[in-house]
């Protein structure tokens, strides 16, 4: 059966109504994967704390590598199993570390995932969250080299995919955290999480994803269902290990004698929230003339097609409609033919 490879992006840390919380775009990803037959999406779409799911039609690709795929720099190679190593931030307290190690053991014993080994960073990563992250979450880490050194250590031991667990400041009582938990704000730590995983992707070129280490927080009876997946248990590591367990290998292009499951030239569409057209993958897709399906999904940005006037952009009201567009593209159906009124075909004039 034919498919229509599609990239699905929900940018991290911009408060998307769908996908801005804890794996709450996963059902949408499954829908779009079913419609397209081949969906490429990033960890924060798929990771719901302890909850996640595998789907044979979904490629789990970290955001930096996803951008490189859209730019045509890499291809993807399907694998049956990754050998996962975990980097733990040395700032993590012993009890929280032990909880995470037990979760990793559980993923081996219960799910059959190949978690090979772990390493603790030589220095704490020292997370710095941007003070002005009420609209877009952002920040950095003070010791990026120690993160990369830890990743190199794992790769030297034969690890093929890396999970990172970083210690985040205890801000469970902060206004931003409480607003987020009640479904009204931006995930305050998502921007730094992206930086951490981007560093591993950029410098080590292996599949990777990040889970934060946070202290258990007080019960909130007004919890929004979309944030609920992060309230189960002590760690967010299970979804990361599930996603990485068979994440595709990164194949640098041009590739010699390397089998490829998905070449960037096969990608036909990118699905992205309306207002979030300023990311590198979308701009790279526009360069290639790909279909951009812009979905109404309330967020803090207003970078719309009003400023681009890109002709191959479809604005739709929801992801159900986006799935319909993908199906039409996959089957080669002229979208105009299923809309009314239907215009007559036009006579062309010869240009001078």
């Amino acid at each position: 059966m034919e498919n229509s490879p599609t990239i699905f992006i929900v940018p991290t840390g911009i408060g998307c109504e769908v996908g801005g919380f804890a794996g709450d775009a996963l059902p949408t990803a499954k829908l779009l994967a079913s419609a397209s037959g081949c969906l490429i999406t990033h960890p924060n779409v798929m990771n719901g704390g302890t909850l996640s799911e595998k789907d044979k039609n979904i490629f789990y690709v970290e955001g930096y590598s996803l951008d490189r795929l859209a730019k045509g720099e890499i291809a993807l190679k399907r694998v049956k199993q990754q050998k996962i190593g975990i980097i733990f931030d040395s700032a993590i307290e012993k009890e929280i570390l032990v909880r995470h190690l037990q979760v990793a053991d559980a993923c081996v014993s219960t799910l059959g995932i190949n978690v090979h080994s772990y390493v603790i960073t030589k220095k704490p990563l020292n997370i710095v969250i941007d003070s002005d992250s009420s609209k877009i979450s952002g920040g950095t880490i003070e010791n990026p080299d120690t993160l990369i050194d830890a990743g190199k250590c794992l790769i030297e031991k034969g690890v093929t995919a890396i999970a990172i667990v970083a210690k985040f400041p205890d801000d469970s009582d902060s206004l931003e955290t409480n607003i987020y938990r009640e479904g009204k704000g931006v995930d305050p730590i998502a921007g730094v999480e992206a930086v951490i995983s981007h560093l591993i992707s950029k410098f080590l070129k292996v599949p990777c994803a990040h889970a934060p280490a946070l202290n258990p927080i007080e019960l909130n009876e007004n919890l929004d269902p979309r944030a609920a997946a992060e309230e189960i248990g002590y760690t967010f590591l299970p979804s990361v290990l599930i996603g990485l367990s068979n994440a595709p290998d990164i194949v640098e292009l041009p590739a010699k004698n390397e089998s490829i499951s998905l070449h960037p030239d096969q990608i036909e569409s990118i699905v992205v929230p309306n207002g979030a057209l300023g990311g590198e993958a979308v701009l790279a897709g526009i360069e290639k003339g790909l279909n951009i399906i812009s979905v109404k999904n309330q967020n803090t940005l207003k970078v719309t097609n009003e400023f681009y006037d890109y002709p191959n952009l479809f604005e739709v009201d929801n992801y159900l409609e986006a799935a319909g567009i993908i199906l039409a593209i996959k089957k080669g159906i002229n979208l105009s033919s299923v809309k009314r009124p239907l215009k007559k075909i036009q006579q062309c004039s010869y240009s001078d």
Binding site: P11, P144, K202, L283, K302, V303
Partner: protein, 63 residues
């Protein structure tokens, strides 16, 4: 390596076509350092007669 989070403001002249916008941004941003993460977070139409648009880009850069 040191990371910094920056807000970068850039004029997008009409002479730069949409399909060249990404390269235009990268060329300008890379003068600041090695790019880890970036995105256009705001665009404003210009009030001048040249049609220049104003971009706000949020980036994390390594030096």
């Amino acid at each position: 390596m040191k990371l910094s989070s920056v807000d970068y403001y850039l004029d997008w002249p009409v002479s730069i076509k949409l399909k060249n916008l990404r390269e235009f941004i990268i060329t300008n941003l890379e003068k600041k350092g090695d790019l880890i993460r970036w995105s256009i977070v705001d665009i404003q139409n210009s009030i001048d007669s040249f049609g220049t648009k104003k971009l706000k880009i949020k980036a994390v850069i390594a030096n």
